[in-house]
Subunit: 354 residues, 2 copies
Amino acid sequence: METLNVDLGTRSYPIHVGPGLLARADALLPDTMGADVLVVSNATVAPLYLDRLLNAFGARRVVSHLLPDGEQHKTLDEVAGIVTTALEAGFSRDATFIALGGGVVGDMTGFAAAVFMRGVRCVQIPTTLLAQVDSSVGGKTGVNHRLGKNLIGAFHQPSCVLIDTDTLDSLPPREFAAGMAEVIKHGAIADLAYFEMLERQQEALVSRESDALGQAIAQSCRIKAAVVAEDERERGRRAILNFGHTFGHAIEACTGYTRWLHGEAVALGMLMAAEMSDLEPVSQARLRDLIVAMRLPTEPGSLATASMLKAMGHDKKVQAGSLTLILLSGLGEAYISRDFDDARLKSVLDAWST
Amino acid sequence: METLNVDLGTRSYPIHVGPGLLARADALLPDTMGADVLVVSNATVAPLYLDRLLNAFGARRVVSHLLPDGEQHKTLDEVAGIVTTALEAGFSRDATFIALGGGVVGDMTGFAAAVFMRGVRCVQIPTTLLAQVDSSVGGKTGVNHRLGKNLIGAFHQPSCVLIDTDTLDSLPPREFAAGMAEVIKHGAIADLAYFEMLERQQEALVSRESDALGQAIAQSCRIKAAVVAEDERERGRRAILNFGHTFGHAIEACTGYTRWLHGEAVALGMLMAAEMSDLEPVSQARLRDLIVAMRLPTEPGSLATASMLKAMGHDKKVQAGSLTLILLSGLGEAYISRDFDDARLKSVLDAWST
């Protein structure tokens, strides 16, 4: 097991990474935690891992709440349901909410913990690669609104993140690859040596070898934790974590959120962002090769430039200069750009729209 | 105009108190505020003051949202409605939400600001005495759940509080008196000199003389701000602000939340708490006299001891030692008591149950 620390002053917390951690959950939770625990999971994850987690708890009073599976259930009403379960159990401000599942379960449970009696402790136990390297670390929580994703939420740091790498064994190949997109992103924006390690280890990672995977997850968490520690509320530097995401979100929107998984769209978005960057052709090729090696797509299908610009909030209705892109000055080094060339953006999108 | 500061490090904010401030709102708002403003009010307050506030704004883009009036509408659904209005206006993380109204409007607007895009600025413009001296200062926001009051919420400090004492002219007498209960409380728990000032000024206050009222509101805010600055998230000392509230909430619950206004129940609760305290008879009499002078009730009507204990969470179903009372060691000095004498509590309640 490897343990890292997210350094946020009084809100600092540990991330434990390794195999077999679910069964040891009780001992790994912070000492200060009270006896009352609400475990939130969903209909897909619970049959696989809920019993293993519940069996780990001895003297605590544990109640569980199952959400329906899927992004369409990431609503304020479902969060209210979590709160109701906690209230009906008689839980108070000493309670701890535990999220067992992917990003949707983590975001909703974290938000429920943020607002239950004005805030209780939350522990994240992510069971997808995407959640392990991305959403479980950093304290962003929330739900969707019919007018857009994640528009209602809070910054609420967890008290602890527990990453049991064994839970990846059950992950479908496309979802595993989608998580790898964020892993590649961490190397690309912040750590050339890590990017090179991913290149060397690509076969071991694709075949989910435990050691290689544990190291990659830990290093990705370390990078994300460092960025979050520097800028908890995303007022500046934290935006570099959005590398590939502005293009990626637009791809998702233009394809009705059905064709690509989020991570797949991010992979495609990273390729577009790399083309917008002043990046050497050889570096662009290395990024593309690693994306291919991780079984991620490189062809988005037909995308109209006008629709992409609109989805990026960069059509005529939005004032100039409002769009921010995260670009690379080299592999391992990202920067925030607000003064990119509009004509170049259009020509990059045109090249992808055929 | 008087300006105080709530000292909370990077979350510090000013409170402006005085007559005629609504018309000067634009100039009094913090310089850092963006152009987009959402004013939230309700059907009772808006006809009185909304135009005056909107006229004060020049170059800003202002949208307003009216809530239905009443505690029964303090729900998550109504908060979602505020968020929807902001989204439909195209507002982003630069927006500012302004609460124009009493405590319910303030709590709901503050909570909407806490969760809109994970948190935007909020300005409180309280128009009732209770909200001016109590709920607008301190950052507690939230809504009710069918299982209890204020069970869903967040700590979200405002960027500024604007108290226009002219708005009290329209306040019904019972609501004015209810606000005075919290004013008396501030003197009783923390400031003997202030308590004595209230005794001397009682006629001027009851007749709502502007100078006396402005001074009292400012001093009450100063006391509340100092307590909040010491313990923002109510982990200790902040609990002294609950003087009279444990008994008061029980009185409200035992009378179905219809017979007494919150402040009236707090006045009755302060008398009960004073009897539980080791307070000289002369001090008890002074507290009672001031409550009478402010046109607040001293007779709760028939209250069964068993129902009161149950409403206080102190019947046999709840473990011993879980109830906390705020008591007085003297006028102007409160302490937190967890080891009071159960028999004495019962006999105090018995004396009030006839």
